[in-house]
Symmetry: C2
Subunit: 334 residues, 2 copies
């Protein structure tokens, strides 16, 4: 049970440059900080203090090239691209536009990169504050877009001294139902709450959330646990990119595929229905596609239609192997 | 500039049933509400008050069937599916697991659907509170997952009397840079802040955010502006689903495609490289693929390889038309 929270801006921090002591700057401008507070620190001042800047020309095509170089070096993989917008996964694992590289709130000859290790930055700041006798939680935040919803929100890049999740799994609600799947990303919600008092051009890079239970008392796993790996993400690629990958799969589908058991009669029937306009094959233990038109062009056309059918089988998750003979194409589905 | 916010729980609301007067329940339990407060109201109590419940058996396979029926009727389209998890777009336009249908915090013989029109619900509650002399903003919230990040957060389903966005576009930062693309989804951040004091089983279905400027004073567009339509969403389909759609495109690629100008020599070269292992075609104004092996099986195999090449061209965004003759397959790319 929480009695209520306060969300307070820290003003007066001003310009931050490489080597600045954030713990000193924050405590000097917020002498009212208390044990148990959560500091929500905009990643930009962390990056600046850590010197995570790239020098770029102030304008012209050279600037654009330098920006592209920085993006490439911060990118692990491209997730989606549309026009000038690139959504990428960074080396940290964050999925965000332009790898989080930012040209705002910095002079025109620099770009700001994300902190190299935001959890380590959060731990270092927490330790430095603890050395001053102040025991707080630290969330390092940044502004991100998301799928399906317009507008941006602040989320956590790094954290220390605050549990990333509040886990309700196994709790029993007042109606006797056991809660499932309810793991709240608390540090993202704290980042969002902090953003509400920050603004963008007001130079309020730190907000304090006061009253959140348990903050500052324990070492925690950091924000890294919020990163979903691509393999378990249902949206690891943009829709257009995944569609293209499907076409490439069809283009590179070899005549022989390793067996992957699990072919259902229903799935084979759906694949046959997909291409029923162009080809009919006899179904028994394998599919036999027999040419009707025996001219060279008729035989080539049948070959293309057989590949259409194998693409349709692949779309049903089925692997297949084709054997070409002079009287038919034989497709073994597995 | 914001001086700071308070986030306060409203306790004592208890069980809500169809026909309950939420304005009366909230004001009775939070007599301390003031003009300008933002009420963050869990959608579940709105649904219950509006009778948006479906009766279901308490257990057994019949319950599962009833749940699937409810899901189907709340679904506009399936976005992604993996095992038992279905991410769908609801008729409102929200993309969420199981269409937001929930079996928690309700007795075992009912499922709770989302409010039919959460913006209308927010407006109605705001109007009912105004009739009691209380001028507030209202956000109707729900818990959602998201792409790329583990854990859930609360976001806004509906809103009234509070601007959904805080728009920084055009503002000049202290370094003289004009901000771009920075439209903050404030009502989602307010929903997240509210969640921090709510819990899941504590029956705190309403939080109050106090101190956020401008709340309660103006009529606004509602949360509907946060919905990104599928056409402009780079993640309108799950990765596996879009990959499958690409394979289906290859399976249904007709011999003749309408011209879509824009074929670049580089794109054609990339497509040819994709299939270089299996086929080589002469490039001039069109691609000429000539059979070497003139046996029936050789001709069929060439036909399949031509379709591989056309799939590779499609993966480059190129449309193509194939003309089969007895001496070659001719591919016109547009």
């Amino acid at each position: 049970m929480i009695d209520g929270l306060e969300v307070l801006p820290v003003r007066g921090i001003g310009d931050v440059t490489a080597g600045d002591d954030l713990a000193a700057l924050i405590t000097a401008n917020a002498p009212w900080l208390r044990d148990g507070d959560v500091l929500v620190v905009t990643s930009k001042i962390v990056s600046k203090a850590e010197g995570r800047l790239v020098e770029v020309p102030a304008d012209g095509p050279e600037r654009e090239l330098a920006r592209e170089r920085a993006l490439a070096s911060e990118t692990r993989r491209v997730v989606a691209r549309r026009g000038p917008t690139a959504i990428v996964q960074t080396h940290h694992g964050f999925v965000m536009a332009a790898a989080g590289i930012d040209a705002s709130n910095v002079d025109k000859t620099h770009l700001v990169l994300l902190p190299a290790d935001p959890d380590a930055s959060a731990r270092a700041l927490r330790t430095a504050l603890a050395a001053r006798g102040l025991h707080v939680g630290v969330v390092i935040s940044d502004t991100m877009g998301r799928a399906w919803r317009n507008g941006l929100t602040d989320v956590a890049l790094g954290a220390a001294g605050i549990e990333p999740f509040r886990d309700h799994r196994g709790e029993i609600d007042p109606y006797g139902n056991e809660l499932q799947l309810t793991q709240m990303a608390v540090i993202d919600e704290l980042a969002a709450a902090g953003e509400l008092v920050k603004g963008k051009c007001d130079q309020v890079p730190v907000a304090v959330v006061r009253g959140y239970p348990g903050a500052g008392t324990t070492e925690t796993s950091g924000a890294v646990v919020l990163l979903r790996d691509a393999a378990s993400d249902m949206f690891s690629l943009g829709t257009a990119e995944a569609h293209t990958a499907g076409l490439v799969s069809a283009a590179t589908l070899p005549d022989t595929q390793p067996a992957a058991p699990g072919a259902s009669t229903a799935a084979i029937a759906r694949a046959l229905a997909t291409v029923a306009d162009v080809i009919t094959c006899a179904v028994s233990s394998s599919l036999t596609c027999t040419p009707v038109d025996l001219t060279p062009s008729g035989l080539m056309r049948l070959g293309a239609d057989v590949h259409r059918l194998r693409s349709a089988l692949a779309a049903e998750g089925l692997t297949s192997t084709v054997t070409w003979s002079d009287t038919s194409a034989q497709i073994t589905v597995s």
